[in-house]
Every structure is written in C-alpha cells, then in structure tokens.
C-alpha cells in the first residue's frame, strides 16, 4: 500500500481545484455542525454561569422559568412583584444565610436597571462561585449612586463621575426620570453574565425616582425635587424577586416548601438548576432540529464529494488502465479512490475545525458583547470529537462508492478502456 500513497497524493494534487472546492464545502459544513454544537454547549454554560451559589430564587407565584429568566437573565416578560415585608420575613428565617432583593423594571438606553441592596456585592456569585469585583470605584452609598456593569460602561463610554438619567420601563421611548440624575460611582469587572449589561442602584433610589409617579407616568403638577426625597419614607413596598443563600444546602427543599406554604401572599421558590433544565428541555427540540439540518448540510457536502470524484473517474479510466497494466490490482484502485475521498473528508474536517476556532477567536468578543454569549476558545470537546469521528466515518463510507466504481471499471476495462 505504501506505493499507492504518493500516487494518490499526486493524483489528488493534479485535481486540486475541484477537490479543493469540495474540501471547502465539507469544511464549511463541518464548521456549521460544530459551530451549532458549540453555541448550544456554550449557551448552556453561560446560562449556568450566570448564577451560582444561590440556593433559591423567590418571587410571586407564576412560572418558575419565567421568574428565573426575568430575575436573573433579564429576558422575557416581567413577573409580578412580591411584597417587601415577605422579603424581610424570609431574610429573618433561621435557615437563611443571606438574601439579595432584586427590583427590575427601569432601564437606561436599553440596558436593564436593577434595584438591590449592598448585599448584592457581598453575596452574589457567578461562574465558579466567584464574587463580583469592582474594576473601578465603589459600591453605591449615596441615594443617587449607580454601579455599572462592564458592558454598559464599555459600550456607552461611561466613566466614574458621569451623570446619567434612567428611563421608566424597558423601551427607550418611555418617560425619563429626568429630574433625578444618577452619578456613576463604580464599574464592575467583566463577568460574561447578564451582570455586565446591568445598571445597579439601591432599592431606596428605585423608590425615590418613582415617588412622584403613578401608574407608569409622572403625576401631573406634582414633582418632588431630588433634595427633598429623603424626607419621604423610601423603604420599598415590593421587589421583583429575592435570591436566597441558605446556611446549609441540605435545607433547600424544606425552605422551598416553607415558601410555597407562605400565608401572607402566594410565593414560590425556584431552584435555579431545576428551572434551567426545564429551559433545556424546551430548547431541546429546536436544538435537535438545528443539528439535524446541519447534519444534512454535511451529507450534501459528501454528495458533492462523491459526485466530483465519480465525475473525475470517467476521465481517469485511461489512468486506471495504465495503473492496471503496471501491476495495480483492482483492489489497489479501489483503495486509491476510497483513500482520496477519505483524505478530502479528513482534511475538510480539520479545516472546518480550524475555521471554527478562527471564527470563535474573531467573533467571540462581538458575540459576548451583543448577545452575552460567551464562546470558549477551547480544544474540541469530547462531543465535538465524537461528531468529527462520525463525519469522517460518513465521508469515508461515501468514498467507498467511487472506489467501488473504480474497481468495477478496472475489471471491465482491463488494459483497454472503452472510452
């Protein structure tokens, strides 16, 4: 067989343009297949990264998934609020180590504004149980202080000391809290989670900017200037959700039952991992459809490969006869053709993987900024290697077809091809 290898390589080089195009088609299809798999995997990872060390997310009773998506990922429909007194009762529960109240609803140039307490900077963890870190400045202290997520600061070009106003609701066209500007006192280090896209203010500030509002609009003829708001009671009346850390994780189900049976108002407690796996179940159908489509694209590229090699075979009958006259057995010619297809597949898979790596390196930061999707620049995972294995196997099997054809032709033609 060793004498066939240089022959196969020289023959392939002789047809490098058609084979090269086929190789590119295979490479692109492999990039698509692996890319979808990687986005799927990394999307899951970045979701899972967004909240860690939080045992329960408590909110008004609704869909667990909706609560988690809104409270932690700032995606989807706003859920009902829960009473502040309930939040305080939970915080005082003996099993509870810490609570972080979250109050959402306002925005700034499309980025969500989160009202919370200083506990957020002490207890909120993401990724591998990492605490938030301030890249610049300090947590909010004064009433109209705001701490920016890394992405907010980077994309809007804000720095410490800048003054910004918040918008009521999530659309930019909605009414401004223009009379009560905030000053930037801190900017968080990048986390790769929704925190990067969030502006953080105190719960009291959230209350203060809504003092002279009612039903989503300023009360006409009734404005309270910022200097005077401190004279009012600024303790919040309700919050969107409360993140809870327990003293021991073992108490999580007992706590969940306690919340579910809470008398004063209908509440629920969600385990973030459980809600996320519900999300994956929902997504699985779409993911499988995407994977199936990209697998089909791979199959199409192999059909192209087989077509190109088979079409070339017609012109190569003379070549096969010469090889036959000089000692090549039909099975050598089979091997020659099958090797060619297999090698193109292998090279296509390798180029496709490299292409994906290059795209990840080039587009990764942009995807992170635009969609908060953290693509990892990592060597292929086991799943990806397994997929590559299937791709290469399928390509090699497809290449047996031209190999078989060459075998049959060489038997039929002998030394004198009837072309």
């Amino acid at each position: 067989m060793s004498h066939l290898l240089p022959l196969a390589l020289k023959s392939a080089w002789n047809r490098r343009y058609t084979l090269g195009l086929t190789l590119i088609a295979i490479a692109l299809s492999v990039t698509l297949l692996l890319g979808i798999e990687r986005v799927r995997q990394d999307a899951r990872d970045s979701f899972a990264q967004a909240v860690s060390g939080t045992d329960l997310v408590v909110g008004a009773r609704s869909s667990p998934l909706q609560l988690l998506l809104y409270a932690v990922f700032r995606i989807g429909e706003a859920s009902n609020n829960m009473g502040w007194d309930s939040a305080q009762t939970l915080a005082a529960h003996p099993a509870v180590a810490w609570t972080i109240p979250l109050s959402l609803g306002d925005s700034h140039r499309g980025f969500p504004v989160l009202g919370t307490t200083p506990a957020y900077f002490e207890h909120f963890r993401y990724g591998d149980k990492q605490l938030l870190r301030l890249a610049q400045g300090k947590p909010f202290v004064g009433l109209f202080d705001v701490v920016l997520g890394a992405e907010v600061a980077a994309s809007l070009g804000y720095k410490l000391g800048d003054r910004i106003t918040l918008t009521h609701g999530m659309q930019e066209s909605m009414a401004e809290h223009g009379d009560k500007p905030f000053s930037v006192v801190g900017i968080l280090a990048r986390t790769g989670t929704p925190v990067d896209r969030t502006l953080h203010i105190g719960l009291e500030a959230m209350e203060a900017i809504h003092l002279d509002w009612q039903g989503g609009a300023p009360i006409p003829g009734f404005a309270i200037p910022p200097e005077l708001v401190k004279k009012f009671n600024l303790s919040p009346k309700s919050v969107t959700a409360v993140l809870i850390g327990l003293n021991t994780r073992a108490g999580v189900f007992a706590m969940q039952r306690y919340v579910a049976g809470y008398r004063a108002e209908p509440l629920m407690a969600v385990l973030p991992g459980v809600a996320l796996s519900q999300l994956w179940e929902l997504m699985a159908v779409a993911e499988r459809a995407l994977l199936a489509i990209s697998a089909l694209v791979v199959v199409v590229s192999f059909a192209g490969l087989v077509a190109v090699v088979l079409a070339g075979l017609g012109e190569r009958r003379r070549e096969l006869a010469i090889l036959r006259a000089n000692g090549a057995r039909p099975r050598d010619l089979f091997a020659l053709l099958a090797f060619e297809g297999g090698a193109v597949t292998l090279a296509g898979a390798a180029v496709g993987t490299l292409l994906l790596t290059a795209l990840t390196a080039l587009l990764g930061p942009w995807l992170q900024a635009q969609y908060g999707l953290g693509l990892k620049l990592a060597p292929p995972s086991w799943q990806e290697l397994e997929m590559l294995g299937w791709v290469i196997l399928a390509g090699t099997l497809a290449s047996l077809l031209p190999g078989h054809r060459a075998y049959r032709l060489s038997l039929a033609d002998g030394l004198t091809p009837r072309v």
Binding site: H3, L7, K10, S11, W13, N14, R318, E319, I322, L323, R324, A325, N326, G327, A328, R329, P330, R331, D332, G414, L415, T416
Partner: protein, 228 residues
C-alpha cells in the same frame, strides 16, 4: 525446442454479453528472445488476445502458459502480480500517468513489483540508462508526462515496459499515433532494447509495413479459428 516463453492451447474466449466466441486458438507458441509481429485488422481479436496473455481476461476454456506458469491456475490478484513481474506493456497512446513526471512514470512498475525493482538494481540508474538509450534528453525527465510530444511519450512508455527486464514485452499498436518516419525509428529502438534486455517482443499492429525486419509474422486470421 526449448520451453516456450508463451504457449496458448485450445483457447476459447467469449465476452460475457455475447453468444459466439470471439477467439478460438488451437495452438500458439512464442519462444524465448523471439520477436513476433502479430498482424490483424481492428476487431480481429488482437486486444482480446493481449488481455488474455496479460492475465486480465480469463478464457472460457484452454490453457495459457507463460514462463512455465499456467495463468488459468492463478487467482486474479496473482495474475496482476505475475503481469507486473514478467510483462511490460506499451499501448497505442496515452500511456503515461499525466500527473507523474517522466521519471516516475518509468519507475511505476518498480513501485508495484519487487522483482522488477530488484532486477533493475539501482532503479533510478536503470531508468536513466533506458531513457538515454531511447533518446530522451535528461532535461525532460522531471517534466510532467503531458508536456512531451506523442513520440517522446511512446519512448517513455517503452522505457517503462523495459525497466526491470521483464521476460515479455507486449506492444499494442505503439506507433499508430506517430508519423511514418518516427514509426520506423521507434520500432528500431524498441527492437534493439528488447534484444538487449533478452525480452521476448510481441508487436501487434494492423499496419503490415511495420512487419519488415520481423523474422516471424503471425496473422490473427491464421491462429484464430473463429470467422470474423
């Protein structure tokens, strides 16, 4: 008479998709070192005969014995091996692999046959010697085969048929793509080199003018009892 290099006996061949046999040869023998001119019009079964002698086709009946080896007793793979070990082949035209250099084309049989490589000794040296004998200038050797003229290509094919000194050289209309002057020159070179290598030459052509100088001439019509 010494043992013949090639002996065909009671040979019957029929294409699978045909009813009538196309070759029916009672006896045909070729002695060692003989140079035989086989004459036949196209369709007279020449190519079929060559494919049988080269072990590519198998007869319906009868024996083909080459160098004392009954080809009919060999497996298909063994016949492929036997062919490259003992037979050099030259065809009408397009003898060369287009993507290989002249030198690599000549060396092709040595890649597939250890016997040919061993008999050639230093294979590159042997190829060089043959190419020089066949008037192929050294600056052509590394060129792709397709850059050569038809006449040059046929001489490269002759060098390839002769490398590693196979006992039998079969040339199937090797000059039909050449003009008359070059035909004679090519034939003379081929015969000289076959003689030098002690190779038996079977030269097949429809062109009787080329038969001049061959001691033995055979008509396909004489040996093939099948009416055309």
């Amino acid at each position: 008479m010494p043992q013949p290099v090639l002996s065909l006996e009671n040979l019957l061949f029929r294409w699978p998709d045909q009813v009538a046999a196309c070759l029916d040869i009672e006896r045909f023998e070729v002695a060692a070192d003989e140079q035989v001119f086989i004459h036949g019009e196209s369709g007279s079964g020449k190519s079929t005969l060559l494919n049988l002698i080269a072990g590519v086709l198998m007869p319906l009946q009868g024996n083909i014995v080459a160098l004392g080896q009954p080809l009919t007793a060999l497996s298909a793979a063994a016949r492929d091996r036997f062919r490259v070990d003992h037979i050099g082949l030259i065809f009408q035209q397009f003898n060369l692999i287009p993507y290989l250099s002249v030198l690599d084309n000549v060396l092709l049989p040595c890649r597939f046959s250890r016997r040919r490589a061993e008999r050639a000794g230093d294979i590159r040296q042997a190829a060089a010697t043959l190419l020089r004998h066949l008037d192929l200038d050294e600056n052509l050797w590394q060129r792709p085969a397709t850059q050569l003229s038809v006449g040059q290509q046929q001489r490269v094919a002759a060098a390839r048929a002769l490398i590693g000194r196979p006992e039998i050289v079969i040339a199937d209309e090797p000059t039909s793509a050449l003009d008359a002057a070059r035909q004679a020159a090519f034939l003379a070179l081929l015969r000289r080199e076959c003689a030098a290598a002690n190779a038996t030459l079977l030269f097949v052509s429809h062109d009787l003018r080329l038969a001049e100088g061959f001691v033995r001439r055979v008509e396909m019509g004489q040996i093939n009892r099948m009416p055309l």
